[in-house]
Amino acid sequence: MNSSNYIKIEFPSKSCNEAFARAAAAAFATQLDPSMEELGDIKTAVSEAVTNCIVHAYPQTIGKVSMRLRVIDSCILEISVRDWGCGIENVGQAMEPLYTTGGDDRSGMGFTIMDSFMDSLRVRSASGKGTTVTMRRCISPRTGRR
């Protein structure tokens, strides 16, 4: 019997939930015994994905954000962040470094950071319907630990 572990959390797109989402993801990831560096990378990627929902998906309103984490093959962490907001018209363009619609409060580096900190990144979006960002990170078993 090997049913893999998962959690699903739903919260409103309020910026105070950014820190909560990071902490929740880190707490779930702990079962894979990640290094400090891996934990930092996971928190960073979650922060980017969740902040995008709060800033871009629902610019004028508060909407629903859902974050799902699961363990695959007992060593891969999959993180999925979903919103039902405005969507992205051109995903390829949005993922380019420095591309932003957020003015000088933003740097346009969110997707670039998710991409470089995770092993895989997939973005599915439909204009007016919402966006789902799915990322995976392999947590290598640490040698020499007890």
Binding site: S15, C16, E18, A19, R22, M36, E37, G40, D41, K43, T44, S47, E48, T51, I54, V55, P97, D104, D105, R106, S107, M109, G110, T112, I113, S116, F117
Partner: protein
């Protein structure tokens, strides 16, 4: 997050302490703007050794500080970033724009 500052001989050192994300960044940028207005420093150092976490909101804050200092004819650099901020700085390539100094 907390922001502490020390000024001496034209140099303002801004210590960012805690976690810097989108939720915190508006207040943080405002504090830095106020400090720059108050001291009008020649050099501004962003000291990140006690910053436990930052994401791309931190990159935007660093770029903004750089622009404000450039307008005043001054310089900005980052000092002693902790591990996680360092990785974000590296991934963003911001160090091509704003130098990173490590002082031990």
């Amino acid at each position: 997050m907390n922001i502490n500052a020390a000024y001496s001989a034209g140099r303002l050192t801004v210590y960012l302490v805690g976690e810097l994300d989108h939720h915190q960044s508006r207040t943080a940028i405002r504090s830095i703007e106020e400090l720059l207005d108050e001291y009008m420093p020649r050099d501004c150092v962003l000291e990140l050794s006690q910053l436990n976490f930052m994401d791309s909101s931190g990159i935007a804050l660093i770029v903004k500080t750089g622009r404000l200092m450039k307008e005043q004819g001054g310089r900005v650099w980052i000092e002693n970033p902790a591990t996680q901020p360092r990785r974000v700085i590296d991934a963003s390539g911001i160090d091509r724009l704003i130098p990173v100094a490590i002082n031990k």
